[in-house]
Point group: C2
Chain length 162, copies 2
DNA sequence: AGCGCATCATGTGTACCACAAACTATTTTC
DNA sequence: GAAAATAGTTTGTGGTACACATGATGCGCT
């Protein structure tokens, strides 16, 4: 029956799990990610790449390290991400003016175009995801998540380890 | 503490991304998942397995399908999950009384013990994750996430037994 | 009775992502 | 300058979701 990307059945989350906010976040997170992937599929851009483009578009030149910190992405994950973006001509690696170890990253015009289209698609996906919430509720949700994200935030000092 | 505004050291999500609730959810989701993984590591139980135990503990006999739906897990993922749990003696696959295609799943006493310990650990992890929020805020967050999760994951069908 | 289709469990392969560890080239620091 | 720190890279591990194909079984309809 070829149902689309959405879940076929009527899976109702089980009460025992619905209690766990952490579980909810985790679950919803992968769902959101998937939804984003699907939304951006026509651009052949993964959420990770999209995040990178997003940041690069607003900063004049960044190193991979800086970019990684900006979006909470591991340096080793950055490599493949930038490789891909570069091979697609969406960003460029240029020699860093003052540090020959580092690369200076620049978004290209095609990169900006892709980003613009991606933003529309991502926006739509988000609207769909947050459909059950009012604008006000969305703002509240956003605020709460942001605070949690920043606190739990990127490791550097990962005491979250346990 | 480690909450840095965004300066030299402390992380700090980039403004361009911080706007996207979907991105936040996705990001936070994988973070939460990893945190759970780490928390449950001493029990050698993955979040997925923990979720399964959780549900099995409150239902008298389920098929893998039912379990899968309860926690939003794909049937093909269930197999490995149950395989693992069974090999550990935490759950049992018994012949289903009325459908020979299906397996009837039962949690064992060791499974319940593991679950109990897991709940404590998971609770701690969650407290840590939600540390920046007050009890009230946590409730709000939970409610919002739940609504999103229910709408997103499922159609609208909500016979969430409880 | 028999046939076709839905369903349960399963296996295989793909995709996404994070992170640790090891290594090279380079910059900083002492 | 030699040692320590840093940017980028490669490789391997762990966790998860999902699509698709398969075999066994159940079920409805003729």
């Amino acid at each position: 029956m070829t149902i689309g990307p959405t879940l076929p059945g009527p899976p109702g989350l089980h009460a025992a799990l619905v209690r766990h906010t952490g579980y909810l976040i985790s679950r919803l997170g992968s769902h959101a990610q998937r939804q984003f992937s699907a939304a951006l599929e026509s651009l052949a851009v993964t959420p990770r790449m999209w995040g990178a483009l997003n940041v690069l578009a607003s900063e004049e030149m960044m190193t991979q390290q800086e970019l990684g910190k900006s979006i909470g992405m591991d340096p080793s994950t950055m490599v493949a991400t930038i490789d891909e973006l570069e091979s697609r001509g969406l960003v460029q690696r240029r020699p860093h003016p003052s540090d020959r170890r580092a690369h200076a990253l620049y978004i290209t015009q095609p990169g900006r175009d892709t980003l613009a289209r991606g933003r529309r698609l991502a926006g739509k996906a988000q609207d769909q995801l947050l459909a059950p919430l009012s604008a006000e509720e969305r703002a509240v949700l956003h605020d709460l998540l942001l605070r949690v994200a920043q606190a739990a935030g990127q490791g550097t000092n990962g005491p979250i380890k346990n």
